[in-house]
């Protein structure tokens, strides 16, 4: 018997163990659940240690090499690893109430750095480009289909923005626009729900397809 078939069969059994929860909670489900949690934790620990902690913190500080790989430049690499490494360690100070406040230094640098990195491009991607994308001509000559789509989009955009404008009472024109806005929001929720159903069912389809493949492999193995 092929080794891959043994592993695939084990995976199939675990899949069935997880789905057995749909009938009711049981020890097979519990076993599979705990196995996933344990294996995942170990996997992530190893991956992060060997891909992140070791090459970026441990190796540069404790395994200094003269004339090693080009990026292992003595001095620069050493300090660049030590300072963030110490800042990372400071985050754990919160487990000790007396010096817990020290963790805020590292957190402050982290938040400040990320804010600096994010503000301009996020503003561009999430706001400015979206305004540009929403600024469409309502009438496109000789193209009624595009005109109709653009009108739908602009009306929806204005309606939805109006719905979230709380400084004036939603009466008159504002009220009509807000009502149109809520219709668009509901359509949006409906689309999201439809996609969510599709996504969850896809996972089930994937598992069923996998079980079918395992069954096929068994039939082929038994036939040979």
């Amino acid at each position: 018997m092929q080794v891959t078939l043994i592993w695939a069969t084990l995976a199939a059994i675990l899949t069935l163990a997880v789905y057995s929860f749909l009938y009711k909670d049981n020890p097979f489900y519990k076993f599979a659940e705990h196995l996933v949690v344990g294996v995942s934790a170990a996997y992530y620990l190893v991956i992060y240690y060997y891909n992140f902690i070791d090459p970026n913190v441990i190796s540069p500080i404790f395994k200094l090499e003269f004339g090693g790989a080009p990026i292992r430049i003595l001095g620069m690499q050493w300090w660049m690893a030590l300072i963030p490494g110490l800042l990372g360690l400071l985050l754990y100070a919160r487990f000790f109430p007396k010096i817990g406040w020290v963790s805020r230094w590292a957190l402050g640098i982290y938040v400040g750095g990320y804010s600096g990195l994010e503000i301009a491009p996020v503003m561009q991607a999430r706001v400015l480009d979206q305004i540009r994308g929403g600024s469409l001509p309502l009438v496109v000559p000789h193209d009624p289909s595009t005109s109709f789509t653009n009108i739908l989009l602009v009306v929806g955009l204005l309606g939805t923005l109006t719905y979230f404008f709380f400084s004036l009472k939603h009466k008159g024109v504002l009220g009509v626009l807000a009502r149109i806005g809520i219709v668009y929001i509901m359509v949006g929720f409906g689309a999201s729900f439809g996609y969510t159903v599709m996504s969850r069912i896809s996972l089930l389809i994937g598992r069923v397809d996998f079980l079918r493949q395992v069954a096929d492999s068994w039939i082929q193995w038994l036939a040979t």
Binding site: P121, G133, Y195, I205, D209
Partner: protein
């Protein structure tokens, strides 16, 4: 208890059973329902198709974990098949630690199908943590972020990577993402460096990224298993995506029927209980 009340109190395990039957039966009795290709999928296909063979490589970032394999694996395989069938070079990487083995498996299996050689036709860079730092770093020096490939070969010793310095030499980067990492590619690669980004996402995420598509920040978008099926149709290589679409269609009909019946039962029983409360005239 009337029929309507009985329907509202049905044991949900009957619904699970109905769903299971609706998923399983089309696998044994395929209906071959048509898959209509939508514009976002065709746009991504055209963007890949426009890359000249044996020139600057297509980058694929496999940013998903095993929990989303049924949706994102078929997309990755379809895009890789498209690229290799047209002799387009591929560089794969992952920003998700759980994506390390998935990317390798997909790349190796499709490369074998098309007789492609590692470090000549494709390169696997492996995993690098720190999403923002990696994406930003690739904008200035890819070899600084990934000094070696996943197997320890320095990129400077891989001829395929000669002259590939940053996003200027990447005609297209496609992220197959099951998390918000797609936004990092848009924010840190497209916005500051003008990188051309395409994406494949799980269906549950798809609606979040249509605004990026409409504003040109994404070249194309594959949404869920359906997106994968459409891409498989375009490359004329039906696989897991197309195979799953029959079940998907049957399930959707079943859920629509259940929603309609549930609403009829809910409003019917509500009306009946109101009538029962009203005093006899």
């Amino acid at each position: 208890m009337g029929l309507l009340e009985k329907f509202l109190q049905i044991d949900r395990r009957w619904i699970f059973l109905a769903i299971a039957i609706a998923v399983v039966v089309p696998f044994f009795l395929p209906m071959g329902l048509p898959v209509v290709v939508t514009k976002p999928v065709r746009d991504l296909y055209n963007a890949v198709d426009a890359i000249p063979p044996n020139s600057e490589p297509l980058f694929i970032s496999v940013d998903y974990a095993p929990s989303t394999i049924p949706e994102l694996d078929p997309m990755t395989l379809a895009v890789l098949r498209h690229a290799f069938s047209k002799d387009i070079r591929v560089v794969a990487l992952t920003l998700d630690p759980a994506g390390y083995g998935l990317a390798e498996r997909a790349l190796e299996s499709v490369a074998r199908e098309y007789g492609k050689e590692r470090n000549k036709d494709y390169v696997y860079l492996g995993f690098q943590p720190g999403i923002a730092a990696v994406v930003l770093g690739m904008g200035t020096d890819i070899k600084g972020v990934f000094p070696e490939d996943a197997y320890g070969t320095p990129l400077s010793e891989i001829p395929m990577m000669d002259g590939i310095r940053n996003y200027d030499q990447i005609p297209l980067l496609i992220t197959m993402a099951s998390s918000g990492v797609i936004e990092a590619w848009v924010i840190y690669a497209h916005q500051p460096y003008g990188a051309r980004i395409g994406a494949g996402v799980t269906a549950v995420m798809a609606t979040d990224y249509y605004p990026f598509l409409d504003t040109g920040q994404l070249v194309g978008l594959l949404g869920g298993m359906r997106g994968a099926a459409e891409y498989e149709e375009l490359i004329k290589h039906p696989d897991a995506g197309v195979r799953g679409m029959d079940s998907q269609s049957v399930i959707h009909v079943l859920i629509i029927v259940l929603i309609v019946l549930g609403n009829i039962a809910y409003f019917g029983s509500k009306k009946r209980s109101q009538e029962a409360k009203e005093p006899a005239a």
